[in-house]
């Protein structure tokens, strides 16, 4: 499977932008798959939107949005584990509130089930070797 970069972003835009087809251009010109997670668009005031964009040209797409006057903030919406760094020490396992990080028995290896992760980011703080990273 080819890995497609994906990003969650928070957008704020003025009412002048609200009626331009920027999301459509984002999909068409940059070949991005767009998932609208939240939208709050009001003709009379500032609009906000949370998008998940997937595709090779994420960064170019973001540049386009910024050039159009949209304020773009990346959301720390995913925590992932750097497998090369993790030493399977276990220091995160009794602290992770969701059970996403757990000790597999009897191998005693530490596993990460990202589906269970609630992105509380406690592990990012406690991991002694910085193996848990935030993906924006």
């Amino acid at each position: 499977m080819v890995f497609m970069p994906s990003k969650k972003i928070f957008l704020r835009f003025g009412k002048d932008i609200a009626d331009r087809p920027i999301i459509y251009r984002l999909a068409r010109d940059y070949d991005l798959v767009i998932n609208i997670l939240k939208a709050n668009v009001d003709q009379n005031k500032e609009g906000t939107m949370v998008l998940e964009i997937t595709g090779d040209q994420c960064d170019l797409g973001l540049e386009y949005l910024i050039s159009q006057g949209v304020k773009v903030t990346p959301l720390a919406e995913e925590v992932f584990r750097n497998e090369d760094k993790c030493t399977s020490c276990g220091a995160c396992t009794a602290i992770c509130p969701s059970g996403a990080l757990y000790v597999e028995r009897p191998s005693m290896e530490v596993k990460f089930d990202s589906d269970k992760c609630i992105v509380c980011q406690i592990c990012v703080k406690v991991c002694p070797v910085n193996a848990m990273e935030v993906r924006f």
Binding site: T87, S88, C89, A91, T93, P128, V129
Partner: protein, 401 residues
């Protein structure tokens, strides 16, 4: 007849590729199946391993001389100070040293993302490290400051010398207090929220040689992915048998080792810089010791299981820091590894801080080195004090002159 083997006989077998080697985990089922006598006869070496944060670690460095020469008075490597109160371009970099500008616990709990252990790791990973030093200048060492870049291969010596590693056993840390505490035993949630332990248990080197019958000065070991040696007993070496208030025994604890080795032949994945939130920076050390099966008694010791090894439960919310002696009872490593224990009638989730899977890997690597004939055993030049020597732990009392 009872088995008796010598180091020389075992080394002969290693050299000719006939040695029989088991890890301290594998030996358990062999002994259960064949019994101690048969296992002692057929097995020559049992390998152990441990991989955990060991604060009392560091490296002696010699940088070679600049032109003109300098007698370094203060020295920083990637902004982390190293001790230079020895000869001109010799220094000792300790694992827990922090950069001069680290905010420490001013923004509690501090992150401590970089320290001496990380510099050691960067050196090992062959990354360039910035060296800065100042000096008062002398007739023979005129230079007063220097700033340059070094790598591990550029310098003369880098001798890892860890004054205290490989604790025989360790506490199981809990928190009886009302607020989260940040310790070298990790983040401990209030009101018995979690329990952290830090030993490889049945794979741990000194739990497999509880009476120091084979591990002594000069013992050749796996250290940081390369070869090292036991240099001496570790600091705070107080081997003994744990007992509860009624006098019931809970197995060995208290021994430590001082170890030494050439950093240049070690590997960055077995010496890893580490940061403990709210506590500080340190170094995670991979260490493994081969135990020669000289007789049945030694085989009996290495066949120990997690069911028979115990950690004392200690409150790090209050008692540990206040040096209040005693504990909240003992818990077996088998229970600790199950993921849940009972403390004061409460069900508490457990987590390890030392990696059992890496300890197993180390014991396996050491085993393969011996099987390949690349690693012969050394007979210690002197054995270390053991429980029968009854070394008392001294304390530091506050008094005037």
């Amino acid at each position: 007849m009872a088995t008796e083997k010598t180091y020389a006989e075992i080394n002969e077998k290693i050299k000719s590729g006939r040695a029989v080697v088991f890890t301290a985990e594998e030996i358990i089922s062999l002994v259960a199946e064949k019994g101690i006598s048969e296992a002692a006869r057929s097995v020559d070496v049992v390998t152990t391993g441990t991989f955990g944060a060991m604060c009392s670690s560091g490296v002696f460095l010699n940088f070679g001389h600049s032109k003109p020469k300098i007698k370094m008075q203060k020295l920083w490597l990637n902004s982390v100070q190293a001790y230079t109160g020895i000869a001109a371009v010799d220094a000792y970099l300790g694992a827990t040293e922090l950069p001069e500008d680290d905010p420490c616990n001013n923004n509690y709990p501090g992150d401590f993302r970089y320290g001496g252990g990380h510099v050691i790791h960067d050196l090992l990973a062959r990354r360039p490290v910035k060296l800065e030093a100042i000096a008062y200048g002398t007739d023979c060492y005129p230079r007063q400051e220097i700033e340059t870049i070094i790598t591990l291969d550029d310098i003369n010596e880098a001798t890892l010398f860890n004054p205290r590693n490989s604790y025989q056993n360790y506490n199981c840390a809990v928190n009886l207090g009302k607020r989260t505490v940040y310790t070298y035993m990790g983040m401990l949630k209030p009101d018995l929220g979690n329990a952290h332990y830090c030993s490889a248990g049945q794979l741990s080197p000194l739990l497999n040689d509880p009476d120091f019958m084979t591990i002594g000065i000069g013992t050749k070991i796996f250290l940081g992915g390369g070869v090292g040696y036991v240099a001496w007993n570790g600091t705070q070496h107080f081997p003994g048998i744990q007992k509860d208030t009624e006098g019931k025994s809970y197995g060995p604890a208290g021994g430590t080792l001082s170890v030494i080795g050439d950093l240049k032949q070690m590997k960055p994945n077995w010496l890893v810089g580490a940061s403990f939130l709210g506590y500080g920076a340190t170094l995670t050390v991979g260490l493994g010791i081969p135990i020669p099966i000289l007789n049945e008694e030694i085989m009996r010791c290495v066949s120990v299981t997690d069911q028979a090894l115990y950690a004392p439960i200690v409150d790090y919310g209050e008692a540990y820091g206040q040096r209040v002696s005693g504990n909240l009872g003992f818990v077996s490593y088998a229970d600790l590894k199950s993921g849940r224990i009972t403390v004061k009638g409460r069900d508490v989730p457990t987590a390890p801080l030392s990696s059992y899977s890496k300890a197993r890997e180390i014991a396996g690597i050491l085993k393969s080195w011996i099987l390949q004939g690349n690693f012969e055993l050394t007979e210690p030049v002197k054995l270390l004090p053991s429980a029968k020597d009854n070394i008392p732990a001294k304390t530091l009392e506050i008094r005037g002159l």
